[in-house]
């Protein structure tokens, strides 16, 4: 028996070895093939290739944000290939999936640097961006960030709005409607808690007072208690800083308690899920969102053309509309294409170009001013949206 058992084990072991060896062989064959095509391509065309790294969460929990970003990268690569190079320079987007894992993002960053990328766009989440940032600074490669970050590093370019920028349309709305007393509610998570400090600063400058502040869990089932407390303070408007589903449940409780004051919600509620949550009961609810969602309703302008160009291009390829996350990636790639058009193909040249030459750039997310310390795009890409017939509605400012 023992002998048979032993033999079985060795057979099993051998099987494993064979399998492993096969896997390795395949892997190596794959790599060899790739390398070969790359070199032959280079020698045949004598084309210059500019490599741009893109670090996105294609899988894992953050993939719901990364999904449209991945689409955008594929779309742009397709467009670049069709155009066939810019002034004889081919732009190659190297996309890395970091699987919603910050450690994998750092490894991907190392890999991209060793492949000689001229710039990196990424990453989907703020924490990941902070993790790869030191690598970019060390290698002195331009890093175009697509999640909200604040940094004063001269080779880092913020393409996503800061919380102060996101809040400014709300403050504008309050000032316009002469609202002086507001109540604030936020979710008890990373996104929820960053809103209030930024708001308080802007509110103070405009003589607006926060008369009540309540917190809730973004996945809690009921926010009636918080709203009952808020009612006692008698505010003239309520601001909610939360992702869904919390954002929608607050709105529903707000309605059933019979509030008549306006409710203003954050960019985290500017999505289809929120509209579905409040459907049929959305008067007096306003959401700060990208003008991208209402591009066709905007008055005629260059901005409208710009937004529609991206939206239609994306919608034609994927049959759905792009979101703000996709817009940040698009803006990043467009900025780098501008650099390549100006003949800048190395990390140093691109950095100098972005820092000193481009100045103000009209991006999809909002105007970027690259001459000053970067605070992300200006608020001109954002607006306070209304909901009508389960669709976003633009209102004249």
């Amino acid at each position: 028996m023992r002998v048979i058992g032993f033999m079985k084990k060795t057979v099993k072991k051998r099987l494993w070895f064979t399998l492993l060896a096969a896997v390795f062989l395949f892997g190596m064959a794959g790599c060899g093939g790739q390398g070969a095509t790359q070199t032959s391509g280079g020698s045949n065309n004598k084309e210059k290739i500019v490599k741009i790294g893109v670090i996105i969460a294609e899988t894992g929990p953050a993939s719901t944000l990364g999904h449209t970003q991945v689409n955008t990268v594929k779309l742009m690569q397709k467009q670049l290939d069709q155009q066939g190079g810019i002034n004889g320079t081919k732009v190659q987007l190297i996309m890395q999936d970091y699987e919603t894992n910050d450690t994998k993002a750092v490894i991907a960053m190392d890999k991209l640097i060793s492949q000689g990328v001229a710039a990196v766009i990424g990453a989907t989440q703020t924490s990941t961006t902070m993790a790869i940032l030191p690598k970019a600074v060390q290698a002195n490669i331009p890093l175009l960030t697509i999640a909200p970050v604040t940094t004063d590093k001269e080779n880092v370019y913020a393409l996503a709005h800061s919380s102060t920028t996101v809040i400014s349309p709300i403050v504008e709305y309050l000032v316009k409607h002469n609202i002086k007393k507001v109540a604030w509610m936020n979710a008890r998570d990373a996104f929820g808690v960053i809103g209030l400090p930024a708001f308080k600063e802007l509110a103070k400058q405009n003589g607006i007072e926060v008369v009540a502040h309540e917190e809730f869990d973004a996945t809690a089932s009921d926010m009636t208690v918080q709203l009952t407390n808020i009612r006692k303070a008698n505010p003239e408007a309520l601001i909610v800083w939360s992702r869904t589903p919390g954002a929608g449940i607050v709105a529903r409780n707000f309605k059933s308690l019979g509030f008549t004051i306006p409710m203003l919600q954050s960019t985290a509620a500017a999505n289809k899920g929120f509209i579905e949550q409040v459907q049929g009961n959305s008067d007096n609810i306003f959401v700060v969102g990208s003008k991208l969602s209402v591009a066709d309703q905007l008055p005629e302008s260059d901005q409208k053309k710009r937004l529609l160009a991206f939206r239609d291009l994306y919608a034609k390829e994927y049959g759905e509309e792009p979101d703000l996350f996709a817009a940040h990636v698009y803006d990043g790639i467009q900025l780098l294409i501008e650099a390549v058009k100006a003949g800048k193909t190395t990390a140093n040249d691109i950095r100098n170009f972005l820092n000193n030459e481009i100045g103000e750039y009209p991006a999809v997310a909002g105007t970027l001013d690259l001459t000053k310390p970067l605070n992300g795009p200006k608020a001109d890409g954002l607006t306070v949206l209304r909901i009508e017939n389960n669709q976003w509605k633009y209102q004249q400012q």
Partner: protein
């Protein structure tokens, strides 16, 4: 005064949700001795599959039983594949497995239904009811009704039917039960099927109030577990009272003290109960516990 009534109403509404979850916890614990931390995920599957069935055009009356049966089937499959093969390991191993299952099911839910919340229309549409200045959502009355009906059904099932007694016997003394001709291994599968169905009912009843997302199971599962511990781990009516109590405590502490600390206060009370009455408020001390 108005706000006091509102706190009470809200507390009972939220508490009834916790009670629904706690019933599922007790049902599995009573039979297998396992704390099933994937109970909240059963609620998620129930609610989201019900949403999907409704979207495919099924009427509500057909979608609800279909979703409950689907979830029960999933509960059965999970027991056969993940719990049954390791049934002879220690209880703690099995509990850790249920934690893993919870993450696994949540991941599958994320892949199938995405992150955005899904709305389920209530069976009966009605305007919120006003009572003494407080607002009551009609759906929460349905949840109360469901809790009561389940209490009666489970009482009859566990105490008046043969299979219910067999289930209880398998937990109390598996060896004696099997000597009496009870197939203890199929009892474990039955308990998971039952708990999954209970979880699905809970999820479907809650969804019109809170909307359904892939992550809805975690928090209500945790609160259901706390409710069960407060009420007594093997006592279904006790768990229901525990759930209501937890909801009311949360709502009053949020209203009168601060919403920033309502969770801390609720869990602080749980700690106090564990210090002074470790078997729960309504559970009789059992002889087999040493």
């Amino acid at each position: 005064m108005d706000s006091m009534v509102q706190y009470l109403v809200t507390g009972l509404t939220v508490g009834s949700i916790y009670a629904l979850m706690a019933i599922g916890f007790v049902a599995i614990y009573n039979i297998t001795g396992i704390l099933n931390f994937a109970q909240g995920e059963f609620a998620m599957i129930g609610a989201l599959s019900c949403v999907s069935f409704v979207n495919w055009g099924l009427p509500m009356v057909a979608a609800i039983p279909a979703a409950v049966m689907l979830t029960a089937l999933i509960g059965f499959i999970i027991e056969r594949t993940a719990i049954f093969p390791v049934r002879n390991r220690s209880v703690i191993t099995l509990i850790v497995i249920t934690i893993g299952l919870s993450t696994f099911i949540k991941g599958i839910g994320l892949i199938i239904w995405g992150t955005s919340p899904h709305t389920l229309q209530p069976v009966v549409k009605a305007e919120p009811i006003k009572l003494f200045g407080a607002v009551i959502n009609p759906q929460s009355l349905f949840i109360f009704l469901t809790v009561l009906v389940l209490l009666v059904i489970l009482y009859v099932f566990f105490d008046k039917t043969f299979i219910g007694s067999a289930l209880k016997a398998s937990e109390k003394n598996p060896r004696a039960a099997s000597l009496m001709g009870i197939n203890t291994s199929s009892m474990s599968a039955l308990s998971f099927t039952l708990a999954a169905a209970l979880g699905a009912i809970a999820g479907i009843m809650i969804a019109p109030l809170t909307d359904a997302t892939y992550e809805m199971g975690f928090l209500i599962g945790l609160k259901g577990f706390v409710a069960m511990v407060i009420g007594g781990v093997n006592n279904i009516p006790g768990a229901v009272v525990g759930g209501l109590l937890l909801g009311v405590i949360e709502s009053f502490s949020g209203g009168l003290i601060s919403t920033f600390y309502s969770d801390a206060i609720a869990f602080g009370i749980l700690l106090l109960i564990l210090f002074f009455k470790p078997t729960g408020l309504f559970s009789k001390a059992a002889g087999e516990r040493v």
